[in-house]
Symmetry: C2
Subunit: 333 residues, 2 copies
Amino acid sequence: MAVHLGNAKRVGIIDVAREAGVSTATVSFVLAGKEQVADATRERVLEVVRRLGYQRNRHARALRRGASRSLSALVPDVTNPFYAELIAAIENAASSQGWMLSLMNCQLDRAREVSYLNTVFDEVPDGIIYVPMTSDAVLEVESRFDSGPPIVIVDEITSHAGVGSVSVDNEAGARMAARHFRSLGRRRALVTGPPQGLPTSQSRSTGFIDEAAKVGLEVAHAAFGEVRTSDAGAVAADLLLRDRSIDAYFAGNDFLAIQVLFELQRAGLRVPEDIAICGFDGIAWGQMITPRLTTVRQPIHLIASTVIDLISKPVDEHHEIVLPVEFVRGQTT
Amino acid sequence: MAVHLGNAKRVGIIDVAREAGVSTATVSFVLAGKEQVADATRERVLEVVRRLGYQRNRHARALRRGASRSLSALVPDVTNPFYAELIAAIENAASSQGWMLSLMNCQLDRAREVSYLNTVFDEVPDGIIYVPMTSDAVLEVESRFDSGPPIVIVDEITSHAGVGSVSVDNEAGARMAARHFRSLGRRRALVTGPPQGLPTSQSRSTGFIDEAAKVGLEVAHAAFGEVRTSDAGAVAADLLLRDRSIDAYFAGNDFLAIQVLFELQRAGLRVPEDIAICGFDGIAWGQMITPRLTTVRQPIHLIASTVIDLISKPVDEHHEIVLPVEFVRGQTT
DNA sequence: CTGAAAGCGCTTACAG
DNA sequence: CTGAAAGCGCTTACAG
């Protein structure tokens, strides 16, 4: 393991105490900002702390206090802008409460997800934020949920006692998309689930299909249970190019919608003239590109603050919270 | 703080030892996979571990062993796809060596960067991977670098002893862009630095300006020292729209290049006919959009594996490593 | 092959 | 206002 230069040893609280001529208790009090220390003593200690460059050892601290002031988050893929934005929002909310956020990125890899799910408890975090990639993984570790820190699951509803969940009304959002396509006079739509069988995909496609039937929109359905994100766009575009009777496309998420949009453009199709596209998530990229993406927007910041609220509460006050979505008309429909 | 249900207490190694009728030493040996334990004993211990759902406390472990098997990474902004891809690559390389990656996201906020830089040492990580947002922040904590875990700085060269650095040949890449524009017959170019004065911006614009002078390409220069990413695209686009004599644009990075590309399209300009655009980074998005982005590609996976290599080495073997870049012609030039 | 015991670096009652 | 001492949950020489 990496050895350090000459100055091998890290300076500890004992070094500070000795140098300042006080006990470690006093150093600790000063660092904790307790009032009960004489000003002169405080000054002296702080000076030594600064001079020696002393930093408290987080592990010793956490061990002794039984709380680490840190949260661990498990996400499917930081490379997907929706998760990146969600992480940024959650980190914001967490740090305003004095929590560090430690991140575990599953990279759309099931094995990695399970492994992280197993090791996250070792971290002894004050709370766990879990954005599931697959439903299977949740089941595998559900028993672990009984003891340990509060857990909040994002984007999937769980009935496990003591586990909170924050998700959005996926079904309602999907219905909005179906009605929108119909109001535009579109006749036949394709709906695809997000890759890797993300749990939310189910209610999105179900909601869309159901509403489509009600309003008289024909639906072709394709699920990408096992397709990796990088291929999903090409596969969906291929389906659309092959069946030109389809004039509307409801993607499982914005990332996918955007990939398909450009694939179609490259193949010479016009959006929205030849085919209308609607995404889901409301990522910033959707409004950055030309044409701007029509989508169903999730309230990312509200999700983040709700997650942190829930984490801070006693576990028996955990609930399943479902937040509303908003339809955003862009230029792709 | 969040209290848990009835089963308050976390099961510890003592609980396991008692239940299995052995000492904690034996439990520890079994968990560490040491051979010196009788098969029957091992079985019994493992059964109890499973039944009780025991998980080792990482803090106690790290404290005792003096190593945490974890790395901490500080990055400017996970929302920028380049950093997202870099993180994913680094995490991959790290986990293949058995390291956890803990992430601190500065969110393009200087205050947050400094604060993270101060607390990262508390984590007692086995190594620190630091992608600086500003040069100032580095200076503020340089003294801390003398003791503590190995540090690898990404994307900026540092001369601090014992600190390794991995970056790419930004200047050479910028020169490629200038020559490319010239070979296309472009006459007047705009070059902008990445927002927030990212350290790399300096050599990119310097290299571009210098080479442009050599090959006879006129240059208008604009730096975005204080502009947040979300505005930078609009500001740059505005400059380009105002001065129509400019027929080439070298953005400091792909993220910015893409934003400007679409801004220009919305304003009715044609790319590359009216204006050619070249980015820097080689993010996946650049090849996903239409038109595909011309760019200078950084070898992300090589950067990641080099970083991990360096972290694993004794500090006195740390070096400044500069990796090559590759010019990628897309459809925006 | 197994156990008793020290000690990692802190914080926090408890005395004084 | 300050210090001596216990203890958080592990791992690891050291004995046996």
